[in-house]
């Protein structure tokens, strides 16, 4: 209650209504043209640029008093930046927050997509540092916008070609470019390519906000999202040798945890909610199994 009082001089969800309308217009346009980067007049937010201002603006613009918000960073609810953003919305919007993927109506994320498949009615809001997938091939915005307009994506494949020529396989592991509905090439934000298939035909609405670069883009539910590749070098996701040491889960993205300075390592779920839910169901991984004995 004190937090709410403290923030009472601010509008609900921080931004004034005029700004929210401006952002919502950009979001609607983005949904109408999947994968297209809509410029918007991004505002300053009380967290630094590069720390999620785009995602926060999108969340602030779509958040209603009845929403249940989940915030993750690196897949986890308890990483510092996730905690900070969750606290921000608790303070300026007084909304209910959760760490459970299934309970959330809006999930703001940095670098991961939850392991639990999203369902209809949920919105996943990505924080995006560099929205332009062509940026590191062509630094000029005027040029890259033209390339998108004319579907000039040859250069993107030049990069993938170079990867294969040099390494024998495509060496892009995260922020792996995708093509949306056969039209726009899009940056999925720096999620590991492991998560790319989850974007395809997702039941949830996916919104991408880049604050510093002033762009919003979107994937409406049931949108075709294809990772770029070659016919004879198809797209592949990372695979881990072992399941999660805590919950025993496989087919999930794992964090490597350094146990000591003698090379001791363990691998645990990057998605903390997924891991905890499994353990709540009594599932145990190698490490906890040993402890129980």
């Amino acid at each position: 209650m004190t937090a709410r009082t403290q923030a009472s001089s601010y509008n609900f969800a921080y931004l004034d209504e005029q700004t929210k309308r401006m952002i919502r217009r950009a979001i609607l346009k983005a949904i109408a043209i999947p994968g297209y980067q809509v410029p918007f007049a991004s505002r300053e937010m009380p967290m630094p640029y590069g720390w999620g201002t785009g995602g926060v603006q999108v969340t602030a613009a779509i958040l209603g008093p009845d929403d249940v918000l989940k915030v993750i960073d690196q897949g986890a609810d308890d990483t510092t930046n996730a905690v900070s953003i969750r606290k921000f919305f608790e303070r300026v919007a007084d909304v209910e927050t959760t760490t459970r993927t299934v309970d959330a109506t809006i999930i703001q994320t940095r670098h991961r997509i939850p392991e639990t498949p999203l369902r209809e009615g949920q919105v996943l809001v990505y924080q995006v540092p560099i929205p332009e997938p062509l940026r590191f091939l062509e630094p000029r915005e005027t040029e890259t916008r033209k390339m998108h307009a004319l579907e000039e994506y040859g250069l993107m494949h030049v990069k993938l070609y170079e990867d294969i020529a040099r390494n024998g396989h495509i060496a892009t592991t995260y922020a792996y470019p995708v093509k949306v509905e056969g039209r726009y090439v899009m940056d999925p934000s720096p999620t590991p390519k492991f998560d790319n298939p989850k974007m395809h035909m997702s039941e949830a609405l996916q919104l991408f906000g880049a604050g510093r670069e002033k762009r919003i883009y979107a994937l409406p539910p049931h949108t075709e999202v294809v990772s770029l590749d070659f016919e004879d070098h198809p797209f592949e996701v990372q695979r881990f040798d072992k399941p999660c040491a805590l919950c025993g889960g496989g087919q999930v993205y794992l964090d490597e945890v350094v146990l000591d300075d003698r090379g001791g390592r363990m691998f645990v779920c990057s998605d903390t909610d997924h891991c905890e839910s499994r353990r709540a169901e009594g599932l145990r991984g190698e490490l906890l199994g040993e402890v129980a004995q």
Partner: protein, 365 residues
């Protein structure tokens, strides 16, 4: 045993408590008051107002105090506050010609109507540390001109009378507003000037300097620099006329630059323009140099230097954006790093396999 490496709420709260403690410093030293900052660190306050894009001395002083003297952090605080304010309307364009000048100099003329007025300037001081300021020595009140002053016409108007300087076309269209309109290149001059006005002083200074050193040389003369207060008026539809709502202190710089002329335009001087809140000559001059350099395309000059490249200059001049993105590297990136770790390991394995295959082959031979 596995210990969570992920920070939590408690860690953040504790860090912020420690920050508050360090900000206050030694409790036996009296706390700074906002008046002290606003009165005695006024140029810092001016910079925060200018790059924070909000004219409020008290809030700027508060931000400086809260930011422990880190001006970029203070600018950030002011911007984050400013962004939440609803817009009631637009002021009428201020008339810098009617400014109550406190300082006004021109490098183009020895004397000119209204005179050269030095005002409170560091110019011509010897930069010797004044140990007396360790205490609170008596300071004599300043000498100022008495009585009503004659209007101080702007140098651009003097040159313009002879047609020697380009005319600024003041369209009736409402200028774009960088707070409302997405930044899309190429930008109008209005958008560029707004971005430069809140751009980082150090960045613009370095770019302006680079034009003087030959990276897009523009042969500038400091046509005029003036500092003083102007009235801000807002048009009231109910009344049918504009009413003053207050005064702001501004620094304006009109840079006069050579121009050879083109097929359509006779040779004449062109302008670079700088306008900032408060007293900040360095920023206003740097802004004017950058503005002129950024007009290269419009004036048919070759774009060869960084200061002429609007995507480069405008995309990188905002220190709140720049500091945020540079500092975001502190955030965890372990998910992506994990992906790269896996890749490097795979590639090393392939490398070793290739090497040992080579060795075996050699051994077999």
């Amino acid at each position: 045993m596995y210990v969570s490496v992920k920070g939590g709420e408690a860690a953040i709260d504790n860090a912020h408590r420690l920050l508050a403690d360090r900000r206050r410093g030694d409790r036996s030293v009296p706390a700074l008051t906002l008046d002290q900052i606003a009165e005695q660190l006024v140029l810092g306050v001016d910079r925060v107002m200018s790059e924070g894009s909000l004219y409020d001395r008290r809030l700027a002083a508060l931000a400086i105090k809260q930011a422990r003297g880190d001006l970029i952090e203070a600018i950030f605080l002011v911007r984050a506050y400013r962004t939440t304010l609803p817009r009631f309307g637009f002021a009428e364009p201020v008339d810098t010609g009617a400014m109550l000048v406190e300082r006004r100099i021109s490098a183009c003329y020895k004397d000119l109507p209204g005179g050269q007025l030095l005002g409170p300037t560091f110019d011509y001081t010897h930069r010797l540390l004044d140990e007396a300021l360790d205490g609170d020595p008596e300071v004599e009140p300043g000498e100022t001109r008495e009585g009503a002053t004659e209007p101080v016409s702007r140098i651009a108007d003097i040159l313009g009378g002879e047609g020697l300087i380009e005319e600024e076309i003041s369209g009736n269209d409402e200028p774009d507003d960088i707070n409302q309109t997405p930044l899309e290149f190429p930008l109008s001059r209005a958008m560029r000037l707004q971005s430069l006005a809140r751009g980082d002083e150090g960045f613009l200074l370095a770019l302006g300097y680079s034009t003087q050193r030959g990276y897009a040389r523009s042969h500038p003369f400091a046509g005029e620099i003036r500092i003083g207060e102007v009235e801000v008026e807002v048009f009231m539809p109910e009344l049918g006329f504009a009413v003053p709502v207050g005064r702001v202190q501004l620094t304006e710089c009109q840079m006069v630059n050579q121009f050879k002329g083109s097929a359509k335009v006779p040779p004449q001087f062109t302008r670079g323009y700088g306008l900032v809140f408060g007293q900040s000559e360095r920023k206003a001059m740097a802004m004017a140099l950058c503005d002129r350099a950024l007009r290269a395309g419009e004036l048919g000059e070759d774009i060869v230097a960084p200061a002429q490249d609007q995507e480069f200059v405008i995309s990188h001049c905002d220190n709140v954006q720049a500091t945020g993105f540079v500092e975001h590297l502190k955030l965890p990136h372990h998910v992506d790093f994990q992906a790269e770790l896996g890749l490097v390991r795979t590639m090393r394995t392939q490398f070793e396999q290739a090497e040992s295959a080579m060795e075996n082959k050699e051994a077999a031979e």
